[in-house]
Structures are given as C-alpha cells and as structure tokens.
C-alpha cells in the first residue's frame, strides 16, 4: 500500500470491519466486496465533508449501509441461498469449533432483512436506535419493535425461553 495518503491508510485499516458489516447486510461475499469498494471510493471522494476524526467510523458504516441499499434498489437481487452461503461462500461462515456460534450465525443470516439490518447496525455498527430510525427512515418505535423481534427469534433458536409472551 505504498503511496497511500494517511486518509487512505486509515480507510484500508477499517476495511475488514466495513467488509464484515457489509457481509451481514448483503449475505453475499462478492456483493459485500463490491459494496465496500464503492463505499471506500465514495468516502475517498467525500473526505472533505468529514470534520471530526472520531466520526470516521460511523460515517463509513453509514456510507456502506447506503451503498448496500442503493445497490439493492438498483439490482433487485435474487434470493440468497443461505445454506450455500454458509457452506461455500465464505470460509468464515463455515463450521467453526463452536456449534452454538455456528447455529447463531446461521440464525442471524436467516433473519428477515427488516430485522437483521437494524440488529447488525446496533450490535456491530454501534448505532443508537434513534440513529437507526433516521437512517432507515422509520420511527424509533418501529426500530425498537424490530430489534425486540429480532432478538426474540434468536432467543428461540438459542433455546432461551422468552420471559415475556409475544413481542409487543
């Protein structure tokens, strides 16, 4: 990476994190790589808009999320073969030594997009529920409900009985 500017070095350092985030959104390694490549290019072009260094990470994650949404609006991708993805698409998603972790990863991949996206944004991206609501153009109440339901589904799969009844 000789010849890269400090900004490009920082971007390159964050790339694995961006790729991980994109992969959970896209559920497809090639698409995730495409999304991150485009996002890095957009970030590079728009670097003048960034005024605070500490805002870089959420700014980049937001660009990745928007680039993913933009790609999906444009392309109308076919349904992802989750079993194929888990077994073939990426070695990181193939069986690890921890069966429970594998099951949880498979369960997260099978979550509907409406549930998986806010969960990934919150847990992996560190976004607040208000930030997620703004980004997804939803009310905060709708985001809270989706996050509750996402965890509820994962609780069921992980064999943890819900303390309360149905999701509100």
């Amino acid at each position: 990476m000789a010849g890269l500017s400090p900004f490009e070095h920082t971007l390159a350092g964050l790339r694995p994190e961006l790729l991980r985030f994109a992969l959970w959104l896209a559920r497809d390694r090639q698409t995730a790589e495409d999304v991150v490549q485009e996002a890095m290019l957009r970030a590079w072009k728009a670097q003048g808009e960034l005024t605070k260094a500490e805002a870089l990470r959420p700014w980049l994650l937001t660009i990745v999320r928007r680039e993913h949404a933009r790609l999906y609006e444009r392309k109308r991708h076919p349904t992802t073969d989750i079993d194929g993805l888990i077994s073939l698409e990426d070695p990181a998603l193939a069986a690890s030594d921890d069966q429970q972790l594998d099951e949880l990863r498979a369960a997260i991949l099978r979550l509907p997009d409406d549930y998986r996206e806010p969960l990934v944004m919150q847990v992996l991206g560190g976004f607040s529920t208000q930030e997620i609501a703004t980004e997804m153009n939803l009310t905060q109440q709708a985001v809270l409900s989706r996050l509750f339901r996402a965890r509820g589904k994962l609780r069921e799969i992980c064999g943890v009985a819900a303390a309360a009844g149905d999701a509100p």
Binding site: P16, W44, L144
Partner: protein, 247 residues
C-alpha cells in the same frame, strides 16, 4: 412502567439504562432475569457477528483509486490556473490526445495486453480460488457490464469480480480448466483488429476480437496450460460470452 414496556426496551436495547427502567427492575425479578438473559444473548450475537474475515483482495484496488485521484487533481489544477493558462493547457491536452490517438491506432494492441497483465498484479489471489462462484454473484458481476455468460459452455467459474479497467467496470473471471486456472477479462468496447497472442511478465495470453469488444484470456507461464490448451479455453469462453445483455 409495566413488564411489557420494560421487556420491549430491554429486548430492543439490552445495554440501555435509565431511572424508570432501573426502578422497575428493582421490584421485578422476572424482568431482571430477562435483562440478564438478553445481555448474555447479546454477547453471543456480538461474537457471532464478529466474523474473522480474510480479505479476498487488496484493501485498495489501485486502478480504482487512481481514477478519482486523477479527476481530483485535474479539478484542483483547473481552479488554480487562470483562464488563459487553462486554454493553453487545453490546447496542449488536445494536441497530446491527437498524438495519442494516432499512436493508439498503431499501438493499441500491445498497450491493451500490457494493461491486462498489469491488472493481474492487483488480483494475485484470484488464481488460488477453487470453489465455484455462486450464480447470484456471477450474475451481479456480468450484469454490471451488460454481459451474459453461458456457464455450461465456459467452464467452472471460480472467481468473478467487477474490476475498474481503462475507464469502465469489466468482468474479471477465472475459469478452472484441466490444466489449471485461466483468467478472462471481458472487455466491452475495447477493440482489437485481429487475434493477438502475447507473452509478458510471466503470463501468456490471447486478445480475441468479438462483436462488441475484446476477450483477454491468459494463463500463468508456469502453469500446465500450453498454447493449444489456452486457445481451447479461449474458444470455449468466446462461445459462451454474449455482449448484448442488458446492463
């Protein structure tokens, strides 16, 4: 705050804390247990999401990066220069472009082969892929360039990426053959007048003119793919590619 509202808040944001929530938890063992379980679950979710990813390609595709860099530098120069100097620069550029076009008309084929070989240096891992590319991923790469590929005819595609190459996105594919991997760049709008064979920087390859573009097919010289095998692979890909797909 009742149990339903408390658990909605905890289930939506297990790390959240506020006075009203804490007051309810002090008096409700059921919701306290729910919070404990949900936080434990969240730790597992976090572990599950933090995949140990190995990059498939370099952090920066250098070719991709150079495109905006050049545009940005050009814009900055334009702003700094006065109008007269800008016109002088434009005239110089026009002259250079004219000379370049004349040069290109006689030298474009070697330049294209060199660019293809240089691109290989950016994707060294592409040669090491073994697993078939999922159809959805291949479709995405091809659609982006308005190209269709008959996979059954082309052979097993083990790498597919949309690469920025000489001003446009092109499908960069690796097809597995009995002699080893063969790389194919589907170069829409790149024109060569005749089939051209090249050997350069450890690669042996072919540029094949097709309607709507050029196919670059190459193998590593160290591989077991000889000229005949490369030609056979190139002909298979040639039959399989359709440049007229809607992008």
């Amino acid at each position: 705050m009742n149990c339903e509202a408390t658990q909605l808040q905890i289930g939506a944001d297990p790390q959240a804390s506020n006075d009203v929530l804490e007051a309810h938890l002090l008096s409700c063992a059921r919701c306290t247990a729910f919070q404990r379980e949900t936080r434990a679950l969240d730790g597992q979710i976090r572990r599950a999401l933090e995949l140990p990813l190995e990059p498939l390609r370099p952090a920066w595709n250098g070719v991709e990066l150079r495109r905006p860099a050049a545009q940005s530098a050009g814009a900055a120069v334009s702003r700094r220069l006065g109008r007269s100097r800008a016109w002088a620069l434009a005239a110089s550029v026009a002259l250079a472009v004219t000379i370049g076009l004349v040069f290109w008309s006689t030298q474009s084929q070697p330049a294209l082969a060199t660019a293809v070989v240089e691109h290989m240096a950016l994707e060294p891992d592409s040669w090491n892929q073994r697993a078939p590319v999922p159809q959805s991923a291949l479709d995405l790469v091809l659609r982006r360039s308005g190209v269709r590929l008959d996979r059954a005819t082309a052979g097993e595609v083990v790498y597919a990426y949309s690469c920025w190459f000489r001003g446009r996105y092109v499908p960069h594919l690796v097809v597995q053959t009995s002699g080893g991997p063969v790389t194919v760049l589907v170069l829409r709008d790149e024109a060569v007048t005749r089939e051209q064979r090249f050997e350069e920087s450890g690669y042996t390859g072919l540029l094949l003119p097709v309607q709507g573009g050029t196919l670059a097919v190459l193998a590593r010289e160290q591989s077991a793919i000889d000229a005949a095998a490369l030609n056979e692979a190139a002909q298979r890909v040639l039959q399989a590619v359709d440049f007229d797909a809607p992008s």
